[in-house]
Symmetry: C2
């Protein structure tokens, strides 16, 4: 018999969905409060939870062998003070489609001038302004992992050229051209949309830096759906105020919630959302867990295993 | 030698683009004013133009053998008082991708709650409301021609189920389920989004009628990108006011521009655009013309030939 401890904001929803999977040899304890969960489930060998709760519970689970996170982001688990004597899996695969909905929702909103058209409508005005189109435009992805690959496929569906800036990978069939290392300016120069979709590691900090931002053409829009620290926010704000960039769509920030004092709230042509580009819907998360538990139970290797050294 | 008369709003742009195609044996006259064009090009055997200008010029071109329209809509050419002794081709293929950008721009705008999020931003408020998703939702297409087929493919890309209501066709691989004739209520009952993409013919008038609208669930949003007359607008307005439908996105109307007195301007949850969902971009139109001229010159059959009897 295996023992699963669920630690999430909505434990009953998760428990019901895991139970619906009719998994063999599995007893379940579920809680939103970590102390409560540990009081009933300290003997658990499997943990399913969000990073904050998992981090708190880690030192108190002597039998732990596997932790399934409910997020893609694994930063809290990489704290060197924490144990690493267990298998850590995160969520991949399900966020690509959600990120595509977010990114292309905003790209199309901009091309189709949805907001100005709505203003025309409110004024009762027939607004025959022509729309733009994504066809023939160039999408630049900073980071081409599983999420970037899905964005690339969506870009292709809409007739875009797709460029990728990666450390070294070149294996996505929907990326037309790759750039690495010192190619930042060459990468940025041709873009209509730069989309940063990087995890937060030491290597990705401010990878979208002043050099990359300065090389973007004035028509370019910057989108960040990865992590706030991967982008030089101050330089971006300055460029938007100066009209050297056409706009920004930002879902992630170094500090979240974004402080009231942030200049971003009122930066021109900037759309702020609240780290909601790819939420962890319980149905998706439990789908990954159920599949992984079947592998675990059968002694097979798990999907989406995190490498503590690489940080993703 | 063939003689082409171009009659469009921007004749110089069209002429330059056709000339760039370096077509053999072709002399070109271009005008925006029909009388001016006829004064210089009455001997033309080929006409390229928008329907209004073409209709006016038709009686005065004794050598005409082929007319390429710059639009998809061919209604003005179907007037029984007009000659039909020439080959009429319209534009297809290029509007599917543009329509997809429009339709999915609005669908994603709604799912991702872009407008309310923008209001939160303006109030400086971190808005953690969860977005919806297109995944698993059902898209119902009224009309599955070349444009509908492209919308179906985009729906599939975003993980939707796709249903089609057609006269009899069932040949689109991206449509999961077909409905015809009296199946209107069965078709409408399961939809999250109903998208009408029909040409204006006697058979399509008010095909989206009170019966179809009444069978839609309250969560459904109605989108019309075909022709205004294909939808029972009064019933739609009533349903939106009563909250029996979640919203509407309308790009076409029986009378355009939409009269100032129309109740649609202020109908709740309704987005009005100005027949701009799939504009005729000269680059696209000339691409179709150039390809068709090569076929014409080689004695091959032309693409996108209109059947005067069927009306499309």
């Amino acid at each position: 018999m295996h023992h699963l401890l669920i630690l999430t904001k909505h434990p009953d929803d998760y428990r019901a969905r895991v139970e619906a999977g009719a998994l063999p040899d599995l007893a379940i304890v579920a809680a939103s409060d970590v102390a409560d969960g540990l009081a009933r489930g300290a003997h658990s060998d499997i943990l399913l939870g969000d990073p904050t709760r998992v981090k708190e519970a880690l030192p108190h689970l002597p039998r732990l062998v596997w932790t399934q996170l409910t997020w893609a982001g694994v930063e809290p688990m990489l704290d060197p003070a924490l144990r690493r004597d267990y298998v850590l899996t995160n969520i991949r695969g399900v966020f690509g489609p959600l990120m595509s909905e977010y990114v292309f929702g905003y790209l199309l909103m901009l091309e189709r001038k949805i907001v100005p058209r709505l203003e025309s409508q409110r004024a009762g005005r027939w607004d025959a302004t022509l729309p733009g189109t994504l066809q023939g435009k160039t999408l630049g992805l900073v980071g081409v992992g599983s999420i970037g690959a899905h964005l690339a496929a969506t870009g292709k569906h809409f007739g875009m050229r797709v460029h990728g800036y990666t450390r070294s990978s070149r294996d996505c069939r929907d990326v037309d051209r790759y750039f690495h290392g010192d190619d930042k300016a060459a990468f940025a120069r041709e873009l209509d949309y730069l989309v940063a979709v990087l995890p937060n590691t030491d290597e990705t900090a401010a990878i979208v830096d002043a050099a990359m931002l300065a090389a973007l053409p004035p028509r370019a829009v910057v989108v960040n759906v990865g992590r706030g620290r991967t982008l030089d926010e101050a330089t971006l704000v300055e460029a938007l105020h100066a009209g050297r960039l056409a706009g920004a769509v930002l879902d992630v920030f170094p500090e979240e919630p974004l402080p009231e004092s942030s200049p971003l709230w009122a930066t021109p042509n900037t759309y702020i959302t609240s780290h909601t580009s790819a939420p962890s819907f319980p149905a998706d998360i439990v789908g990954v867990f159920v599949d992984n538990y079947r592998r675990f139970h059968a002694g097979q290797s798990l999907q989406y295993r995190v490498d503590f050294e690489r940080g993703y």
